[in-house]
């Protein structure tokens, strides 16, 4: 059904072309190897703003209004998905419009106008996000971004530390000249990986590749060096004080030294699915904290940066990173249960580390993941995204890697990988709470933290575990309270 053709552009940036006869839709995924990790110090947000100037700005020939009018009858998409390492430009159109669509797509990437009015609007969009939305409207995202800030703080700070959208001071300082210079430096042919999928007319893909080879400058900008994230002596806890938070959002994590290109990644993928599969009832965390205790809406864990694709349960492709992290996401809990929930998540993680998985549990996860991962690539567009990610990591097609590696995996492989990578206590923890000083001192002093249930009626088994959890002594390295208004300033 899908034929993979490869054209030569040099090194590992060869285009990925998926030819799918009869498919009425055409997808473009152009991955620029530049993201927020490339933001110059003091100019945090520059990569994101540059991407916005392309995805929500004029071209040399067409004003933004004219661009919108050209795309409108096609209902075709064009958007930018910036992340830390790459920025992906996503385009989708019906085959009926391939040529007119492509000419707009091409010009937006190759010939941006960098119009001053577009610049004001896009810069304001980032500033409003950082000053109004993030600190106010989504405590879970605030918790996750606070965690990354903490995870990647050090001397010097790691390029992954700040949000992709930047910092308040960073975005304020940006000028149109900064954007133009950043575009010139990084939007080079060497940094571009082309991905196209659909029922493509003969010669189309070659022509696109030639167009971009001719139009984009050659450059040699290299990716920033990533320091090894610091390890710690115990839990480093930040309580983000937000007076209006009615509940407490919690995220915790540790840096992870492996990613999809490493042998250990796959046994860890199995263990993580068992511990905290995203939005399913397969995970221990979800069953223990939500189903048995009713503490919140969901509890999940991850071994790589994860962004959900719309309302689905699947991950967005094209968020690849050279360095990954292990994180736990505890969805908002009642303030009186925050300390208990934090301990509970660590308790069940420790149980995995100490006891390991059984052969039967491995078999169940193997069956599940081998079939479930096929659903991640049910559309041609998502398949293209995963193919591009496999290039980034230098592996075979990820979905095949999962099937092949899981086929021969033993429970010893899994338990050894868990011991090696997750047997740590130096979690960075971010909690968004209104009762910050109280919560901070309770955590710091390892005070007993019994769960408060809305109703009675937990089983004896659960109550017995509760007594262990509420008394779990966590090795605390540091606890600090940060007012929400001080987050992501610079």
């Amino acid at each position: 059904m899908v034929l993979l053709a490869s054209l030569s552009l040099g090194a590992d940036r060869d285009p990925v072309i998926l030819q799918s006869p009869g498919n009425p839709l055409v997808s473009f995924r152009f991955v620029l190897h530049v993201g927020s990790a490339f933001d110059p110090p003091g100019k945090e947000g520059l990569a994101a703003l540059t991407a916005l100037m392309l995805s929500q700005g004029a071209t040399e020939e067409l004003s933004l209004t004219e661009v919108m009018e050209a795309l409108y009858p096609m209902a075709a998409d064009f958007s930018a998905q910036p992340d830390k390492e790459v920025t992906t430009f996503l385009g989708r159109a019906h085959r009926d419009h391939l040529e007119p669509y492509y000419s707009v797509f091409r010009d937006r990437l190759q010939r941006p106008r960098f119009d001053a009015q577009d610049f004001e609007r896009n810069k304001n969009e980032l500033l409003n996000y950082l000053t109004k939305s993030l600190p106010s409207a989504d405590d879970e995202e605030l918790g996750k971004k606070s965690l990354e800030w903490q995870l990647y703080s050090g001397h010097p700070d790691h390029p992954y530390r700040h949000p992709v959208q930047g910092t308040v001071a960073g975005v304020r300082s940006l000028t149109l000249d900064d954007v133009k210079a950043f575009y010139r430096e990084h939007y080079t042919i060497e940094n571009l990986q082309i991905g196209i999928a659909g029922d493509l007319p003969e010669g189309f893909a070659d022509r696109v590749v030639e167009d971009f080879e001719k139009a984009l400058p050659s450059g040699s900008a290299s990716a920033p060096t990533l320091p090894k994230p610091a390890s710690g002596k115990g839990l480093e806890v930040t309580v983000v004080e937000k007076p209006t938070a009615g509940t407490t959002a919690i995220s915790l994590g540790i840096p992870l030294e492996i990613s999809r290109g490493d042998e250990d990644f796959y046994p860890l993928l199995v263990a993580n699915t068992y511990l905290g599969d995203h939005r399913t009832f397969n995970g221990v965390l979800m069953n223990e904290l939500r189903a048995k205790r009713g503490l919140n809406y969901g509890d999940y864990s991850y071994i790589e940066a994860f962004r959900q694709d719309g309302g689905s349960t699947f991950a967005l492709p094209n968020v690849p990173r050279r360095q990954q992290m292990f994180t736990v996401w505890i969805r908002p809990v009642a303030p009186e249960n925050a300390h208990f929930a934090l301990r509970g998540a660590i308790f069940y993680l420790r149980r995995l580390v100490d006891r390991g998985m059984t052969a039967e549990e491995l078999q169940a996860m193997r069956e599940y993941l081998t079939s479930y991962s096929k659903l991640w690539v049910q559309s041609l567009d998502r398949r293209l995204g995963y193919q591009l990610d496999s290039r980034f990591y230098g592996t075979g097609f990820y979905i095949d890697e999962i099937e092949n590696r899981l086929a021969t995996m033993t429970v010893d492989d899994v338990n050894r990988a868990v011991k090696k990578h997750l047997d740590r206590w130096d979690f960075r923890v971010a909690m968004v709470a209104s009762n910050a000083p109280n919560l901070a001192s309770a955590v710091e002093e390892n005070r007993r933290s019994p769960a408060t249930y809305q109703t009675s009626g937990a089983s004896e088994e659960v109550l017995a575990e509760d007594r262990e959890i509420e008394n779990l002594v966590l090795p605390i390295d540091s606890v600090r309270v940060v007012p929400v208004a001080e987050s992501f300033q610079k």
Binding site: M74, A75, S136, A137, T244, Y372, L375, S379
Partner: protein
């Protein structure tokens, strides 16, 4: 008892996939859509019950809460066992609730179809959970409410629906009033009654999209759902009287936010008999879409707002046609309102541009085609229309109606629905004294 129709459609229709239909004697309908997804099926159970059916005091949010309970098991498949079965097939499974419907969906290998029919028919007929399970789930639902409660749009829509409706259950949002959610742990007995009333074959349509064999699917469904007994419960949903004067409401939001403004007008209920709803869909694109004069003026040129949108969702009873915007500079809130209201007056007087109208129809058609590229997305679209009419040909009827909308229709609909007396406006602004960042 059996009535099979292969309603294959002509090239002109927007929904090109062959459809199979079977009506069972107990009121259950089975719809199949043959879609090219080798080895894969989407299995949807569409229940025509949503927050619109919550007419009893203190029971708001119950349809959604009950959706959660449907994952708590039966005697044959207790919840752990049910989850194990789904896990073994590597399925993606979840559910959602809206004003008019509750939809349970599974995406899995075609090989698993027999198992899916077995476990789904079992929980729809034999759901059984303890009071303890029920109460724990109430905690999860409260958590779901809480995670969204910090979002100002949640506050805006709660206020808007409360202000616009007096008697219709659309007065509350689908997740329900907070006090009712907090009281849910006490409603165990009511939940059993809720199941007895609504989880009945006459409220349900099964939808299978993708790679299936119709004869064996049809036989499987008959075997597993054939003994399901019709219920007969009918809810008397109070109808909202026509609005006779404009309404205003406001929210002081206790956290930093840009001002939000909603101008909402009661629109027509979904129907394929009248072109009013499709006409308003066209109107919303022509006059409020990205290429409309208002959007270009407020978002792109003046930059007074960071987005503006308008539209109504397809609903069984009259929905709100809502113009929604977020104002960049708080002091411009009234200027923005004035600009929108002037545009509303203008579009009731002037005909829209014919070229824009044609471009809009093309936009809507291709938008549909771009959104229906997998078995799951096709199923999701079909479920939407089945919940409204229980008729799989509805989607093509709606798009045929779009094609027929004229410039005169658009203007007439603005006159008919966007009048001052029919309007509810709500503003949400940051409360005085909130320590925000500038």
């Amino acid at each position: 008892m059996m009535q099979a129709v292969a309603a294959s459609s002509s090239g002109r229709e927007v929904f090109p996939y062959p459809i199979d239909v079977r009506d069972f004697g107990n009121g259950l309908k089975l719809v199949g859509v043959r879609f090219d997804s080798p080895g894969l099926v989407a299995y949807y159970s569409v229940v025509r019950v949503g927050s619109r059916h919550e007419v009893e005091k203190g029971r708001t949010g119950f349809a959604h809460f009950f959706e959660h309970m449907m994952f708590r098991g039966t005697e044959s498949y207790p919840e752990d066992r049910y989850n194990e079965v789904l896990r073994a097939m590597g399925a993606d499974s979840n559910a959602y609730t809206s004003v008019d419907r509750t939809v349970y969906h599974i995406l899995a290998s075609s090989r698993a179809l027999a198992t899916i029919v077995e476990i789904e028919s079992d929980r729809f007929q034999n759901l059984k959970y303890s009071k303890e399970q029920f109460q724990k789930e109430a905690g999860a639902v409260l958590g779901e409410y809480n995670k969204s409660a910090v979002n100002p749009f949640t506050g805006l829509f709660e206020k808007l629906q409360g202000a616009a409706y007096d008697v219709h259950p659309y007065k509350h949002t689908t997740i329900g009033f907070l006090e009712d959610i907090q009281a849910m742990p006490t409603m165990y007995e009511y939940s059993i009654e809720f199941f007895r009333r609504f989880y009945r074959p006459e409220y349900v349509t099964l939808l299978v999209v993708g790679d299936y064999d119709w004869a064996s699917l049809s036989e499987l469904v008959e075997r597993h759902y054939g003994g399901w007994v019709r219920g007969g419960h009918v809810v008397d949903i109070p109808q909202e009287p026509p609005q006779s004067a404009p309404r205003d409401a406001s929210v002081q939001w206790p956290a930093p936010t840009l001002p939000l403004l909603a101008l909402a007008y009661k629109g027509p209920a979904f129907s394929t008999e009248s072109a009013d709803m499709p006409g308003l869909d066209v109107l919303s694109q022509v006059h409020f879409g990205e290429t409309s004069p208002l959007y270009q003026s407020l978002v792109i040129e003046k930059q007074w707002v960071d987005f503006i949108s308008a539209g109504a969702t397809d609903q069984a009873d009259p929905p709100l046609f809502t113009i929604l915007t977020r104002v960049r500079e708080p002091e411009r809130l009234e200027e923005v309102r004035k600009a929108i209201l002037e545009e509303v007056e203008r579009i009731a007087k002037e005909l829209p541009d014919e070229k824009k109208l044609e471009a809009t129809k093309s936009h809507m058609k291709y938008d549909f085609l771009l959104r229906t590229d997998t078995a799951d997305s096709v199923a999701n679209t079909m479920a939407h229309y089945l919940s409204l009419t229980n008729d799989p040909t509805t989607v093509n009827k709606v798009y045929a109606l779009y094609d027929g909308v004229s410039a005169g229709d658009v203007r007439a609909l603005a006159q008919k629905y966007l009048g001052t007396e029919n309007r509810t406006s709500v503003t949400l602004v940051q409360a005085p004294g909130v320590g925000g960042q500038e």
